[in-house]
Structures are given as structure tokens and as C-alpha cells.
């Protein structure tokens, strides 16, 4: 069994710490159980089941640190792991940025573990996929999809008395349906802690309607357009920006948050007033662990408030160097929106483009966060509040910072996943003016 209960983890970690002779010692125990199933051409292609349990020991003498990982748990192995990490620490170079371990902390709990998800079996996965394939066959489409579930636990303890434990369940599902002629394609992606919220039948229906609706797309000229990004497209577009909410890179002058002449842009109005982005590990729609790798407790934290940069993450080292408060990086990302549905955003649009999904987004220029990528799996032309016809896919070159200055309206936030990192976000659909498409793509 790879998932240990809090008390079991505590007993094991205490035993490991008991072997330590180092100045400081931190131990981490992590377990994961889960499986996946992959399908294509309306049939299962691969499937697997996995289970791992791993212990990491970090020993420090002065500013020298060594790490060992093992997956054997008899006393002799545990002691050997501690000795090995101590030997490695003695050999390591001094780390001028070493920060002493944190002492005991108090954490509030967040409900990240759902028993129903932990109970998923290979049969549950096969049945969920069978429902998806059924839709695809009914609609005379070809389905390719992926479903993965995991139950994990993570526990840390250190020689200064800190102990933290969290257990989490997760399920992700994504589906692409294509018509037989290869002229239409649709997509849907879902991610939840709770499997009972996952409906592979309905998700595949949505993908199918996009596949059928996007067939025989017309080409329109590239240029600047008002766009409506569905949450799955918006999340992927903004992911690079979330990663760069870091004070050190800004202070060093190599981030979009750097200020000409030195320093960072904390407090500046960088985006439209409608933009408010924060983290909250206790959010019922997006619960995450309430502590990070340092063992620091995580609370609600505002990053962008009404378009102003409210906070940047400061590592413990950088906070000490700059004599400011330590600000842990985002625990999750939640963006506020309005009450409008996607349909209402479409209805309010005189002329624009509905973007179902974005693809292959890469950084072109980190100083402006200029990104390039393409639309995919359902791009539609909107005229006088209705979808007129599907259009051919575009390549874009756009910065999320520029994009978030051009907000016309935000819809109701919903939980979505990044199509590349599979991280979950709470993001609204967004209507944006002057989104820059630079060329056409023949891809379907």
C-alpha cells in the first residue's frame, strides 16, 4: 500500500530522524497510486497501473547539503539512507544561499482527498472510456482520449520539529474527436479532485459538437480581432505569466516584471481593472495542499488586484536578502470573472472569433512575455451575437500582459486544465479586443 495515513507517516519519519547526526535533517515521504488509460481510433491503445512509495533524506552540515532517496523501508535501509545523505553532504560544496530549516508550523486543512476518486479501479477507467467511445461512434467520429487518476500523499518532518501531511486525489480527462474526412476536430478537457464530477459522456458530446461544427472551415485574413477565449484556451495562454510572478527574476532585470532602471513593478497598474488573480488553497472548487516544499503554511494570496501587481513571490533567500517578508509562490491560480456564460459573451459580440483551444504555445520574448501558438479544435467566426461559421486556424503572436490590458468582458470562472502541464486552474472565459493573429494554418 503506497498511501500511508498521517499517523503512520509520522511514526516512520520520526524513526528516520532518529538516525540523524547532521546539524539539520529533513525527511520527506511521498506515495502515489493510480493508473491511466489511453485510446485512439475509438479503441484502447495503452493502459497501465502504478504504485510508488519513496523516502527522501536531506542532511546538512553548516551550508553543505546532501540528499538520498530510497524505496526500501526496513530499519537497516532507513539508517543507510541517512548515513548516505550525510556522506554526500560532507562532499558537497557550500551553498551560499542555504536557508536554515523552518521550525514547527500550524496548518489549516483543505479537503483535497475524495474517497470516491481513491477507489477508482482499471474497470472504472475502462467504463468511463467506453462511454466516451460510445458517443464518438454514435456521432460517426473518431475519438482519441486519455484518462488518468492518482491518489497521493506527502509528508515532511525535520529536526526542528516541523511536521506536515497532505493527501490528495486527482483525475484528468481529455478527449479529441475528429470526423472521418479529417475536416473537423473538437476537444474537451476536465480535471477534478472528485471523480463524481467527471462526466466523460457529456465532455465527449461537447467535443463531438465542436468536431461536427468545425468541418469545412472558411479562411479569413489574419490580423487583430476581438476574441472570446474559452477557459481551457485562456488558462494555457496565461500559464507562462503565472510562472513569472517571481521577485528575484524581476529584481535581476530579466522578467516582464522588471522595471527599467532596476527593481520590480510591484504596485504598478499592469493590466485592465477587471483583472484580479489570487491563490487560495482552501477554495472549494480548487483545493490544494496548504503547505509547500519549505513546509511553509499557504494562505490566500493576491497577485493581481484590479490590474495592479499586488504581490510577487519571494523565496526565503531572496526575502532575507531584500529584507522583506517571505512570500511563497502561488499554491493555485484563481482568476475572478463575472456572471456571464460563454453563450452570453458570444451574444454580446458584434464581430469576433471564438477560440476553443490553443496549442503549442512557446515563449518568443521573455521581456514582454510575447508568446506564439495556434488555435485548434474549433475556431468560429461570430457576427451580430451568433456563431456564423467555422474558420481556419490561426497562428498568434500575443503577450498575456497586452491581452489582459484589452479585456472587454469576463465570464463566469470555471475549473479547467492546462492542455500541456495538466495543472488545474479556475479561469473565466474572456472577451478580449485586438488579439493578434499573424498567419493562417491549414491544420485541422
Amino acid at each position: 500500500m503506497a498511501i500511508l495515513k498521517k499517523e503512520e507517516a509520522q511514526v516512520l519519519l520520526k524513526k528516520v530522524l532518529g538516525f540523524s547526526k547532521a546539524d539539520e535533517c529533513a525527511v520527506r515521504l511521498g506515495g502515489r497510486e493510480g493508473g491511466n488509460i489511453r485510446y485512439a481510433r475509438n479503441a484502447v491503445s495503452t493502459a497501465g497501473d502504478m504504485s510508488t512509495l519513496e523516502l527522501t533524506v536531506l542532511s546538512t552540515f553548516g551550508k553543505r547539503t546532501g540528499t538520498t532517496t530510497i524505496n526500501e523501508f526496513d530499519d537497516a535501509s532507513l539508517e543507510k539512507a541517512v548515513r548516505r545523505s550525510e556522506e554526500l553532504a560532507q562532499l558537497a560544496p557550500e551553498d551560499p544561499e542555504y536557508m536554515p530549516l523552518l521550525g514547527p508550523q500550524t496548518y489549516r486543512e483543505s479537503v483535497t482527498y475524495v474517497p470516491a476518486t481513491a477507489a477508482i479501479t482499471p474497470d472504472t477507467r475502462a467504463e468511463a472510456v467506453a462511454r466516451s467511445i460510445q458517443v464518438s461512434k454514435e456521432e460517426k467520429l473518431e475519438a482519441a482520449g486519455f484518462l488518468e487518476n492518482s491518489t497521493t500523499f506527502d509528508a515532511i518532518m525535520n529536526s526542528k520539529g516541523l511536521f506536515a501531511y497532505n493527501t490528495d486525489t486527482d483525475v484528468i480527462f481529455s478527449i479529441t474527436t475528429r470526423n472521418q474526412a479529417g475536416t473537423g476536430s473538437g476537444y474537451a478537457a476536465r480535471g477534478f479532485n472528485d471523480i463524481t464530477k467527471l462526466d466523460t459522456y457529456t465532455a465527449t458530446k461537447i467535443a463531438a459538437s465542436k468536431a461536427n461544427g468545425s468541418a469545412d472551415a472558411k479562411a479569413i485574413e489574419p490580423g487583430k480581432y476581438t476574441v472570446i477565449l474559452e477557459p481551457v484556451a485562456a488558462a494555457y495562454m496565461m500559464e507562462n505569466m503565472f510562472r513569472a510572478l517571481d521577485a528575484r527574476s524581476a529584481d535581476e532585470g530579466r522578467s516582464f516584471m522588471s522595471k527599467p532602471g532596476g527593481g520590480n513593478r510591484l504596485g504598478e497598474q499592469l493590466m485592465d481593472e477587471k483583472v484580479t488573480i489570487y491563490s487560495d488553497p482552501f477554495h472549494p472548487e480548487l483545493p490544494v495542499s496548504t503547505w509547500n516544499n519549505d513546509g511553509a503554511p499557504l494562505e490566500k494570496m493576491s497577485w493581481i488586484e484590479k490590474g495592479k501587481v499586488k504581490n510577487l513571490a519571494y523565496s526565503r533567500f531572496w526575502a532575507q536578502k531584500k529584507a522583506v517578508k517571505y512570500v511563497p509562490g502561488p499554491s493555485n491560480i484563481i482568476m475572478e470573472g463575472g456572471n456571464a456564460s460563454l453563450e452570453e459573451l458570444i451574444a454580446s459580440t458584434e464581430r469576433g472569433i471564438l477560440v476553443s483551444r490553443l496549442w503549442y504555445i512557446r515563449m518568443v520574448d521573455p521581456q514582454t512575455l510575447l508568446l506564439t501558438g495556434l488555435t485548434r479544435d474549433g475556431t468560429f467566426y461570430i457576427e451580430n451575437g451568433v456563431i456564423k461559421h467555422p474558420i481556419k486556424n490561426f497562428r498568434f503572436n500575443e503577450s498575456p500582459v497586452i491581452m489582459l490590458n484589452n479585456v472587454e468582458a469576463l465570464g463566469k470562472p470555471e475549473r479547467t486544465i492546462s492542455v500541456e502541464s495538466y495543472r488545474s486552474y479556475l479561469i473565466p472565459p474572456m472577451k478580449l479586443r485586438d488579439f493578434t493573429f499573424t498567419s493562417l494554418s491549414d491544420a485541422v
Partner: protein
């Protein structure tokens, strides 16, 4: 780790370095432990036989076993600081079977008699569960057993035998050169991989392989405080299928020109000095005027364009739709191949697939389903003639045997179709880079790879680079910045008008090419000589925020 994460790491665009956990997959070990041999081959053979018999006893009609020991060493530094030294080992077994016509796979790190039998039985159970919703049974191309054979990357110096201190000292020396030269920041790293893998199958093969890869690289950053602008220049090194000898430069492996490039061996100390000068020049460089240009692409840049626009669309699993939900499909559909006259590129364009080139990342003796590696044509005189296939796909394109393109990133991942080395053949007639540039009226000479993006069927792409030089009336007229080119794959390859001869041929490559769900990483090289493409659309990427 997917390629994006890896590039984020190697581009080091953020001061706070994000190191993906999967980069350090495996248990942390003492570096000396990496040099101690793993499990004895005779023992692996015994255990493999046990697995094959257990699978057959449960009803498998085919089975293969991979017992793998995967060693990684990563050393990351910035300026005067060692950020991370990681030595990892991962050991376990992966068993793949066909039962009731379906594939099943299971893996375990419990490589004991009991563990291996249980894993084989689990693989058969998965296959039988999948068979219930199967549409077509697996058709496996016949493969003869090779008996007991082995293969080893022909390295001269095992990178794992070089003391960690020597590597750290080298990287800190690299950093010192950059900082003394006026850089604001520098990151540098050496990554080493050693795959010790034993493969056995019910076809009668027992294949023991020892595979080595190395990737040294750095990024130099220069900041213009007043304007708040910054520029970076990445090393012109390549990841290679070599030992530490790659870092022992020789004069005959340097390619002189507007910037020194490297072939087979790499001079990291010289390149960082050049990079520091380049990045200073880059800050002051002229911003490109958008428009049509003739592009002269150095192999250190062109490898990535080949990778994205030729290698990925000729993967047969993409063509068939197996990657539709993630990486995408391909515009090179079977009807185009069947026609026998689909002009992918100009007549100069000859693309070969291989897993043989010495020093390449793809070079192995046998693939991960026991097929001996070879070379074959993909594009011949501009026409699409073949794909990249594995055993269960060979029949689809009328092949009697697999092309040996099966790979798994570790023992715990199931093997599937991954690209071999895919390379552009050099020009047949003598042609130097200088002579090629002489004939360009308005062009850009691009060295090193940069930003990259391509659509899910591989039609429309956009690439950046490291260094851009304006060509005016046959001469290099200075450095440019903010350059990216956009094109349609087929139009681009049909605009190929000149390829330098074999004396300019060099390999570039991807250390971590991502594909599949769950994602797996593959290492692959792409060779070429400097090549010219006429009339390509160039955009200016400068923006204000």
C-alpha cells in the same frame, strides 16, 4: 519531463530556476555508485525467462521484458554558485504482453523472482481487460531472435567516471569567463545519462545494451539597465551520444565563420567567451525589418526545424491518429505517400532516418522491442517515400519488418513509436557556406535554435534563433534581433535552393523530446549542412508592455 519544461530549464529565462521533478527521476545515489556494475547479465536472463514463462502460462501469445538501470547526473550552476548536484539511479522491470489480441503492460521496481512473476501476471490481466473493448487484434511484424547479443555507445571517456569536482570546476570556470566578460548573469549545466538495459522477448532475443548521452550547456544574460532590455545567448553545444570526450576540443572540429561553431567536439570555454561578446552585440543590434528574406540556416539551428517539420509529421502513429488527443496528427497522410509523387520539398531535399550515426542521440544497437537498427529514406529527391514505424504498425505500410523505432524512457513506461535520427543529406556538389552567402542579395543567416512552435498537423511553423546576421548583396552586414520566421512546411521545403556539401555536415539534437500520454521523453539527433531557403516570411517580435 516534457520538452517545454526542459527548454524552460535550459533557456533559464527566469532567475528562479524551475527544475521539474521528473528530471531527477530515480533514487539519489553517491556518484561512485554509478560506476559499480548493476545486476549480472546472467541473472537478468534468468529473471527475464521467468517473466516470459509466467506471461505465457497466463495466456500471453507474445511477451517482452525490459530490465533497466537508468543513471542520471545533473550539475547546475549560476555565477559563483552550485545550484544543484544530482545523481540518480532507477532500477526496475517493465513487461509487455499480447493476450487475447490486445497489449498489456505492467512495471515494478521489485526485481525479484516473486516480483517479476506478479508483474508479468498483471500485464496479462491488463491485456485481457483491454481485449474486451478491442476492435482489431495486434498484428506484430515477425522478428527473428538474436540470441545473446550486446551493444555499447562507443564512448572514449565515461562521463560518470569524471569526478563531480572536475565538472563543477569546469562550469564555474565557464561562469567566470562570462562574468569577467561583462555578462550580468550566467547559468551552466552538465547533464549525463546512462541507460543500462536488458531486453528479452519470446522471439528468443537477449539483448544487453549500455547507452550514454551527454549535454553540456550554458546561457549568458546581459541587461541594459537604463532601457530595462535584456538579451541572452545560449551555448552552441549539442546534446550527444558520446562520453566526456565531447568536451575535449580539437582544432579540426571547429567551424570558423562569423561565429565559431562546433562539430563532434565542443570547446565550452571558447564558446562562452564568444557568447559574452555576442550578447553585448545583441543588445545593440538592429531590430529586423519584417518581410521576405532568403534564409541561410546553420545546422545548429536547422536541426530543430527538421525535428518539428519533417521528423514529427513522418511518425506513423501520428499519421494514423494515435496521438490525435495530444501531439496531434500529420498532414503527411497515407494517400500522399501511396501516390508516390507527393513533392514534400525541392529535388535537393533528401531526408534519411537512422539509428546508427556515431555520436548521435538515437544511436543504439537494437530498439526497445528487439529490432536491429538501420537506415532508410524518408524523403527522396523531395518526394515522401516512407515513415517511421514499429512492429505493430509495419503491416499498415506494407513492410515485412519493423524499422526499429520503438523506445521507452524508462523501465516503468511502455515502449511506443519514437523518432529515430532524422537528417537532411548534404548537397552532392561542392558548396561552402561562404559561397552560399555570396549569392544572397537580401537574407538572414541564423545560428543556434530559439523559440519554436508548430501546429498539430505540422503545416504552419514559427522559429526564432540565437544569432541573426543580416546578409546584404552577398555579404554579412551586421547583427539583427527580434527575428522569427513563419512558413508552411511544404512551401518552406520546396523553397530549399542550396545545401552545403558534406564537409559542413553537423548534428544537433533534442535531449528531451516529449510525446505521448502520460508524456515520455526521447533523445534524438538531426544532422544537416548549412541550407538556404528562398523568400521566407520574417516577422519582428519586439513588443512594448
Amino acid at each position: 519531463m516534457n520538452r517545454k519544461d526542459f527548454l524552460q530549464l535550459s533557456a533559464m529565462s527566469f532567475g528562479a530556476l524551475m527544475v521539474p521533478k521528473s528530471l531527477f527521476a530515480g533514487n539519489d545515489i553517491d556518484p561512485a555508485h554509478a560506476l559499480v556494475g548493476g545486476m549480472d547479465v546472467a541473472m537478468k536472463k534468468q529473471l527475464a525467462d521467468l517473466a516470459l514463462n509466467a506471461a505465457r502460462a497466463k495466456g500471453a501469445t507474445y511477451a517482452d521484458v525490459r530490465i533497466g538501470r537508468y543513471l542520471n547526473q545533473f550539475i547546475l550552476t549560476r555565477e559563483k554558485r552550485v545550484q544543484s548536484i544530482s545523481n540518480t539511479e532507477s532500477f526496475g522491470v517493465g513487461i509487455r504482453v499480447i493476450a487475447n489480441g490486445s497489449w498489456g503492460f505492467a512495471a515494478s521496481n521489485n526485481v525479484t523472482r516473486e516480483g517479476i512473476i506478479k508483474t508479468a501476471e498483471r500485464a496479462v490481466a491488463v491485456a485481457k481487460a483491454n481485449a474486451k473493448i478491442m476492435t482489431e487484434p495486434v498484428q506484430l511484424a515477425p522478428q527473428k531472435g538474436y540470441g545473446d547479443v550486446n551493444w555499447k555507445t562507443p564512448i572514449q571517456q565515461n562521463a560518470f567516471s569524471v569526478p563531480v569536482k572536475d565538472k563543477v570546476d569546469l562550469l564555474l570556470q565557464v561562469n567566470d569567463i562570462a562574468m569577467l566578460g561583462g555578462a550580468n548573469f550566467v547559468n551552466s549545466a552538465i547533464m549525463g545519462v546512462n541507460e543500462q538495459k536488458f531486453f528479452a522477448s519470446t522471439d528468443g532475443s537477449y539483448i544487453d545494451q549500455d547507452i550514454h548521452r551527454l549535454y553540456p550547456f550554458f546561457v549568458v544574460t546581459k541587461i541594459d539597465k537604463a532601457s530595462g532590455k535584456f538579451e541572452t545567448r545560449r551555448s552552441l553545444s549539442s546534446p550527444v551520444g558520446m562520453g566526456f570526450e565531447y568536451l575535449t576540443p580539437t582544432a579540426d572540429n571547429k567551424v570558423a565563420g562569423v561565429v565559431t561553431r562546433y562539430k563532434n567536439r565542443y570547446d565550452i570555454l571558447e564558446d562562452v567567451k564568444n557568447a559574452t561578446a555576442d550578447v553585448t552585440q545583441k543588445i545593440k543590434a538592429k531590430s529586423v525589418e519584417p518581410g521576405k528574406y532568403d534564409l541561410v540556416l546553420d545546422p545548429s539551428h536547422l536541426w530543430l526545424t527538421i525535428h518539428e517539420s519533417v521528423a514529427h509529421p513522418t511518425e506513423l502513429d501520428r499519421v494514423l491518429g494515435y496521438e490525435a488527443n495530444y501531439a496531434g496528427t500529420s498532414f503527411l497522410t497515407l494517400d500522399k505517400w501511396r501516390s508516390g509523387n507527393f513533392q514534400f520539398g525541392s529535388k535537393l531535399v533528401n531526408i534519411v532516418a537512422d539509428k546508427l550515426q556515431p555520436g548521435s542521440l538515437g544511436a543504439v544497437g537494437y530498439d526497445d522491442e528487439g529490432v536491429k537498427c538501420k537506415e532508410w529514406d524518408i524523403i527522396k529527391d523531395g518526394v515522401l517515400v516512407n515513415y517511421q514505424a514499429i512492429r505493430d504498425q509495419a503491416h499498415i505500410i506494407g513492410l515485412k519488418e519493423s524499422q526499429g523505432c520503438c523506445y521507452a524512457q524508462s523501465w516503468e513506461d511502455v515502449q511506443f513509436q519514437r523518432m529515430p535520427n532524422i537528417s537532411l543529406k548534404p548537397g552532392k556538389d561542392p558548396l561552402s557556406v561562404d559561397d552560399m552567402i555570396k549569392n544572397v542579395e537580401k537574407g538572414i543567416y541564423i545560428v543556434g535554435d530559439g523559440s519554436f512552435s508548430i501546429d498539430q498537423q505540422r503545416y504552419n511553423f514559427q522559429f526564432g534563433g540565437q544569432l541573426f546576421y543580416e546578409i546584404k548583396n552577398g555579404k554579412i552586414a551586421g547583427m539583427l534581433k527580434d527575428v522569427a520566421y513563419q512558413a508552411n512546411t511544404r512551401e518552406f521545403w520546396n523553397s530549399c535552393t542550396a545545401i552545403a556539401d558534406k564537409s559542413d555536415y553537423r548534428l544537433g539534437g533534442a535531449f528531451n523530446d516529449g510525446k505521448g500520454q502520460p508524456g515520455q521523453s526521447n533523445a534524438v539527433s538531426h544532422g544537416s549542412s548549412t541550407t538556404r531557403f528562398n523568400g521566407v516570411n520574417v516577422i519582428n517580435t519586439a513588443r512594448k508592455i
